[in-house]
Amino acid sequence: MAAGVAAWLPFARAAAIGWMPVASAPMPPPPREKRRGQDGLIILNVSGTRFQTWRNTLERYPDTLLGSTERDFFFHEETNEYFFDRDPDIFRHILNFYRTGKLHYPRHECISAYDEELAFFGIIPEIIGDCCYEEYKDRRRENAERIQDDEENENSKDMVLPEMSFRETMWRAFENPHTSTMALVFYYVTGFFIAVSVMANVVETVPCGSGPNRAKEVSCGERYALAFFCLDTACVMIFTVEYLLRLIAAPSRYKFVKSVMSIIDVVAIMPYYIGLVMTDNEDVSGAFVTLRVFRVFRIFKFSRHSAGLRILGYTLKSCASELGFLLFSLTMAIIIFATVMFYAEKGSSASKFTSIPAAFWYTIVTMTTLGYGDMVPKTIIGKVFGSICSLSGVLVIALPVPVIVSNFSRIYHQSQRAEKRRAQKKTRLARIRATKSGGANAYLQYKRNGMLAEAEEEASKQAGQALVCKSNPTFETQHHHLLHCLEKTTNHEFVDEQTYETSCMEVSLSKPSMSRSSSLSSSPHGLSSCCTRRNKRKSFNVPNSNMVAGRRGSIQELSTIQIRERPMSNSRSSLNAKFEETVPLNSEDQSYITAAVISMPTPPMTTPEGENSASSPDFLQSNIVRVSAL
């Protein structure tokens, strides 16, 4: 809840008078107001720049440095102000957070400096407003990557650790050629041989002038057959050796065999071996010839050497849907026009449009504006449709192509950004949901220990414990009183989702009324002592004891709930809360404990204290910052 809305709480409470005449039950007494009339101006001197604000503004977030008594450490008696030796520019945003309830991230600031300031003032970065959250996360990730790269560079600069096995060294050499001289040499040699092999394939087919005893021209491949064969053999030798070495060095052989590059390697060298095996069989020599075509795939081996080629392949893959759509629409248009042309030209004599598939060729050539002229319509209607075909061809093909081209660059960048945003969206939605449930759960927690808080507070004061005083009725307590009034008006109680579902199941199964004895298990662990004293108080009976699942099941639930609600970072309150096992925690702290607490089955009344104190640290660990609960 934004801090600004806190200003409307008096209004909401006043409006509650509208419920009074229709209330079904008497209203609860209001929380005691304390420390009234202490609203004064506070001067904050941050490295010379003076900021002033109301005391109440700062105390909206008692979980931070400025909102708690921690700021007293920075009080400067001579000038009667609070002095902080920090960056005033960044402090401006921090102070705005208190004023507006939203934390913004300034784009021109360095991310690590900002993080440091936030940490100093005890503010959790996760509460940055949605407007700036993406930017913040992006910068943070870049920074983390940069740090990681630096570390990797440092590590790689060191000499290869002797613990690395020969196999691992080899794999590393293959993947990163610049790690050692040997790898670099190998890299260049294979590159050279790929080029040589491809060139040989090309030159093989060039006519080389007529031989001494022959009439017609022969290709170079036939003239210098032996030379080309030796060259081919050498290249294939190198490629085979390289492939086998890679196969040996690969950490996961199965994965390596499945990868695209290895398939290209295999396809590049297989024709040679197949050719070796099949030279004497005349019948299959025709097939053998076609196999030689596959030798041209050696050119794809270059993609290991060129990053650009890899990027192109990746973007083609990611553009597959657009390409597919282009193909599909083209096919549709081709079929339509081919059919039309065929039937239009059916009448004319000696027409080349012998069938619809024959007309496909004409349509494709016309639509791509090639116009070879080997097939032309002769009838008038054929010519009319032919011209419509060529015009629409321009539209159908020329329009999507630039779109796809721009898609390449856009999709490439966008896919990276989309991933980021999707990940952030999940966490953002989780935060919103958590805030909502946190508010509701905080109230349920208040119900259980709200009345007890005041009594406990006095007890603790008598015990002389000097703790961070957090039990002043702030916005939270007043809000909870308001919700309590609503409950009394309607004579229904707020419960959390789990309990509601159980009671729904109950109603459908029509079970008898719940057992009162296990109501004790609902008590939060931190208040074990007071709850045993007050177990007569049935008014706060939340029927979470009616878990249909057995004990073991509930413990399972507990662990899953705990895991699900892992904290993002330790808040100040959670650190303090570790000590305060017998003092009532402020309802704010336990906003997320509630869900976990409910499902934990404690053995009723046997040893509540022992168990509770043992397991409470676990609960306190799973605190999430309650700042966002407001």
């Binding site: 809840m1 934004a2 600004g4 809305v5 806190a6 200003a7 409307w8 709480l9 008096p10 209004f11 909401a12 409470r13 006043a14 409006a15 509650a16 008078i17 509208g18 419920w19 009074m20 005449p21 229709v22 209330a23 079904s24 008497p26 209203m27 007494p29 209001p30 107001e33 609203d39 004023r99 507006t100 909502k436 508010g439 509701a440 809000h479 308001l482 919700l483 009034c485 609503l486 409950e487 008006t489 309607t490 229904h492 109680e493 707020f494 419960v495 959390d496 989702e497 309990t499 509601y500 009671s503 729904c504 109603v507 939340v542 029927p543």
Partner: protein, 242 residues
């Protein structure tokens, strides 16, 4: 301080303009036809421009502090605190119904507070101009927090009487009660049943409607509430909210 600029003035002007323009029936028709054609061709442009103009023009400055001090029962300091909070949340100086609903909904995250907020808005918006200015806000609060019991009960009656005709009918009461139950949401104990609001209304009417004529008048209401201890006590509950 200058007088507050009320939205009603802007509402009136376009009609005046239109009236002056109609010289002869034919001219009027042509004008309308042309305008209709233009508006059909560019459907939303005109409205959006007008909307933008309206939004930017709504900037309300409240009455002077002394005046408000005299009219309400708040002290100067209290008014200052109230206005600061109000202005923080609504920089333009007025709250329209949507903002009002949003703000109120933040206090009841589990349920749907929009219907009750609607009734509340109508109760606060005493001059029924569609927005709650700071004066309306502070007047309402003054009654609720510093008023006599009579005034508070009056205010509550005004809230329940949706059509402001001086009688609370069963339908009006049912609407109000339903909206209150809506605020609870669905996760309640015991589970909210369909007939619970109706039963609640019956109980209310049995208590309040003395002459059994099916409606509750202001006198019946005040009489009955004054005789009910619980209600009297709860009226004093929020004395020290500010």
């Amino acid at each position: 301080m200058s007088a507050p600029v009320k939205r009603t003035q802007w509402d009136e002007d376009p009609t005046l303009f239109r009236k002056d323009h109609g010289l002869s029936k034919k001219v009027l028709l042509n004008c309308c036809l042309v305008r209709w054609i233009i508006s059909w061709a560019s459907p939303n442009k005109k409205d959006s421009v007008e909307d933008e103009l309206e939004l930017s023009a709504v900037r309300h400055r409240p009455e002077a502090l002394e005046l408000l001090e005299a009219q309400t029962r708040f002290s100067r300091k209290e008014l200052q605190i109230l206005y600061r909070g109000f202005k923080n949340e609504c920089p333009s100086g007025v709250v329209n119904e949507d903002t009002f609903k949003e703000i109120y909904a933040q206090f009841f995250p589990q349920g749907d507070a929009s219907t009750y907020a609607h009734f509340l808005f109508n109760a606060f918006d005493t001059d029924h101009n569609g927005s709650v200015s700071f004066e309306d806000f502070v007047m309402g609060l003054s009654i609720l927090l510093r008023g006599t019991v009579q005034e508070k009960l009056n205010w509550a009656f005004n809230l329940y009487d949706i059509n402001k005709d001086g009688y609370i009918t069963k339908e009006e009461m049912l609407d109000i009660i339903k909206s209150i139950y809506d605020m609870m949401g669905k996760c309640t104990y015991p589970i909210l049943k369909e007939e619970t609001p109706r039963q609640h209304v019956e109980i209310f009417f049995q208590k309040m409607d003395k002459n059994r004529d099916g409606v509750v008048t202001i006198d019946e209401f005040i009489d009955c509430c004054q005789n009910d201890e619980n209600i009297m006590r709860s009226m004093q509950l929020f004395e020290n909210v500010i």
